[in-house]
Subunit: 339 residues, 4 copies
């Protein structure tokens, strides 16, 4: 951490800064520049609140040097973490680009089973489906609850594919964990720390979606809540951020894929369905995600999007998914990945 | 809702749109324009998923007409809702600008009691203090928990001021509700729907902070989760949004104050501490919030900000708070409010 | 355009709205809904200021139906516009993904010629290089001016590749146009309407970069300034938007590629150099842009990025460019494009 | 500037960094931390491109210490700059809150003269009116040009108030400067460096609007283009930034007022008309701007907003302006300012 003093800072203020830095267990190095004096605070104390120094008299600003995340970073673990959804799964983080597919919401048994078979045929490696739905409006369909989980488990039975589903609240973690192969934590809950910790205390991998306005640092710190609670298997998922753009529901910020790969050992996948919000963009964004090096994709596929109870504008049908997978396979090969 | 057809839409596609609109229990009116045909879908169905129509062949886009929120709106209730924190409290939504003050975190008994007395003397109408802290980093101080609530209750005893404190998870709602006069739901939990509903099922008023990237619509829909669960007393709180700006931690979006007053009967207050993120801006932003018509303020005051365990950069000390309140009183009068 | 009346609008207010709509040469259709009355204003008048109606008593909001852009849209021209930089060029908008490459700034003759040959060998179809540099800081290197243009022309001579360079001001349009094969208008000038019109009055194709906070509508309207002034050859370029993200200089918003292809006949290329701001991301973002369907790329290549006078952090060297082009070729083929 | 080395940086890489720092004329101090080695580069070289070091092998990131702006900063000039529009004007930066008022566009002689008299009666200290209009759409009204300037000059004659008007292009600077008392540079041109320099070479004060996505640093650097060209009289103007918010046209980022006052000697005013985009918010935002300490306001007033040729949704009429000024006067007094 670098403490930058204001141009007018007095000797006494400098002395007080040095004292404060050392009171925090850090060593201080003073550097007298032509325009500014700065104090470098040295030591592995990522948990020091930098604000505490920012408010000292004579201080202009504080500049952090170390990233605040630790256990998710490559500094702690060089080799990439490979996370398997089941025993036959090559895993996210391997040379395979795995695709999770399925409807936004589980609506009924036949809808789910139909689409599950279709997804499997097209090459999906896991099924998704929402039983507990976080809805912006209290007037919208909220999901089938445990009944949905049972249907999803039946789809696993029928297809052999592992299942991924969202958990909304700490109290439901044991229930959802008992059905699911992967627990999803949604964008709105990325900073629901109690839920992150609860997910960290159960054994299934966690698919953690990026919050709509989360920085990369916050995203990795959220993952560290899960890891520190005992679960090392966190699959990160970029699902679009909120910006001023008007032609898409969210702005798919895919440059986070190479950025995460540079600093973290965790795999990162892309959700082109929510990342764009429009069915017509899902295929091309899937190809882009593969090309940029994503470790996987999660795509909403519905047997009849026009009549879907949720997210009708952005789900694709099995036929569109089939075509998407064929094109995706070619792009994956072009970047030396399998599908 | 208006369904806009693309220029090339066929007669069959138009017929299918009309059929789909009517299948949702809405009436349809077709308008043939010079460039586009549009179908107006009429009926009070705020819960219809507009996406379901967006995906129909020949449809270019869907334009909603009605706002998705209901019970928080002036359409349902003309007169403003006045929310009292205690029996002597004039209430948010009255002619009084009420100020809630206190430290970010409750750190220990003497810190809290000292600052509580100081806040009362300066004219604060309620005390705030965090016992359960949502922290971006798992390595940061997480609060004293129930011990903190006990200290806060003691401060209420000592000063006669009602207390406001945050609840982080559904499971803690009964505990926090048994101590607090007002339950705070933080920005990171604005779309934690389970928590909103739990807060809606207990009797204390709820102070709901705006999410960092929440639109006004989403903010009011979150309030409706609380109201629909049975609790009409929701105090909205603008606390800054996330933008590209670099000189402040968040961008304080105070034009939401007149915007909310125009469409909703709920009171809205401003949090200049998190809204700016810098102690030096808190006073002037407080004055601006009063001038624009905010129903109240929530301000972090710490006896010794330099040594605060959390948010040290943005808390002000009692002396600064005293000066702030003196200036605030003048501005409040200039807009015909009491302090 | 749909005029939505507020719930309390009176009959007189409705009559006044109808009158105002008709005074603008539009036809009006009144639709009485269960909650709202709306007036549909019909007619091809994209230039009507919708604000004029928004301010009428009893009006809640105005909802536009038609997009404000015209001549850039597929409605006016179905087939894609193919824009050639020279006579051997397959053109942007064709089945070839063309790559423009070269240094951020032209620094001297040998730098430019060296890199020009290297770019040609790697398969670039055009050279770029800045002679007039728009710099955020007045203290930064501002470019070589006409001397730079001469060097660039020499590089064209030496390699046979067409040249692309930026023009900053109306007065320089004739000069730059006399040297360049394509005139670039930078992001900061996307709404410099005088410059757009001047570029529209000269014969060379225009490469128009998206403004840092431009919506798609504004981007296409800027293109229409050029087209309406007489120049149909506008190549759109996505170069990153400004968001809250901290790990990249800009957020590369590549979903605008399929969005533009859906509504416009103009080609759109991607600038991964400015779109990410970091050399280490340029290759993977280039692949993503190819996969999503971009019509081309513009990439900064410098013989010695470490000593570049501008944009040193984000330029790649010829060796990196060679590797990029090899990988790009494979991805282009995977989406049925040539390089 | 601090160069942070990556954890794996070798001794050779460190030596190369030190060499590169010193080659730029800076001194280097190496600090060996527990996790990182950093090199502090000392010297007053604000124009060093930090990117040049960012790209060196073994470098993780570069952290700037000095702000890039100079002549606009308090470091160079302690006392505030007071800028007068005419000889009777107390000036922006004084104890007076000056209000500039008038229509968005000059539409005809009687419109302008009528509203000019009304503005003067209400206490405006200057008139505004657009003769050259930068319009997003090429199909919109573009202003009366010089004819408009003549009408504006006549309004000055009639009222004795100085006039403020926008210049769009370098070529028009002499013409506009010959009529106007203050030259306005609009948000879209904030980084049109040629125009900034041209405005810097003429003698009238410059009202510089903040770009829609400009940071504070970029805003001050734009002002320095004007100052360095020879004109010290730059009045900054916050006019709203672009965010995801949907209830206002822009987000009025008023915390920039205390931020600018902290670092710069230049005055800053607020434009609540464009900053909110809705007539109903203009009054309350004006009060907020006064309360937060703005040095002035620029407000659009039109005799008949409903029929305005531009910005009809956000202009207020003279009666509304009169009421606004009465309320503004009270708030100004509450913060020890005159109106």
């Amino acid at each position: 951490m670098i403490v930058v003093l204001s141009k007018e800072a007095t000797k006494e203020q400098l002395a007080h800064v040095v004292e404060s830095v050392e009171a925090k267990g850090l060593k201080s190095h003073i550097i007298y520049g032509t325009d500014r004096t700065v104090v470098a605070a040295v030591g592995d104390k990522r948990d020091v609140d930098k604000g505490a120094l920012e408010n000292l008299p004579g201080v202009e600003k504080i500049v952090p040097i170390l990233s605040p995340y630790k256990v998710a970073s490559h500094e702690v673990k060089k080799e990439n973490t490979v996370i398997r959804m089941g025993k036959d799964d090559p895993g996210f983080g391997s040379d395979t680009l795995s695709v999770i597919a399925g409807p936004c919401s589980i609506e009924d048994r036949s809808q789910m089973l139909d689409v599950a078979h279709a997804c499997k045929e097209c090459g999906a490696r896991a099924l998704r489906g929402g039983a507990f739905k976080p809805r912006t409006s209290p007037y919208s369909f909220q999901g089938l609850g445990e009944k949905g989980l049972q249907i999803l488990a039946e789809a696993r039975e029928a297809t052999g594919l592992p299942i991924v589903t969202e958990v909304l609240t700490t109290a439901d973690v044991p229930l959802v964990s008992s059905y699911a192969d992967v627990l999803q934590i949604g964008a709105r809950n990325m900073q629901n720390y109690m839920l992150l910790e609860a997910a960290g205390r159960q054994p299934k991998p966690v698919l953690l979606k990026r919050g709509m306005s989360a920085t990369m640092e916050e995203f990795l710190l959220a993952a560290e809540y899960v890891i520190n609670a005992g679960n090392k298997n966190v699959i990160l998922c970029e699902r679009g951020i909120r910006t001023f753009e008007e032609y898409c529901r969210n702005t798919q910020a895919i440059s986070i894929v190479p950025a995460i790969h540079r600093v973290s050992h965790l795999p990162i996948i892309v959700d082109p369905t929510h990342g764009t919000g429009h069915a017509y963009m899902v295929e091309s964004m899937s190809l882009a995600a593969a090309a940029i090096g994503a470790d996987g994709l999660i795509i909403e596929v519905h047997p009849d999007p026009e009549h879907a109870l949720t997210d009708a504008a952005q789900q694709i049908n099995p036929e569109q998914f089939k075509k998407l997978m064929a094109r995706l396979s070619r792009v994956a090969q072009a970047v030396d990945k399998n599908l």
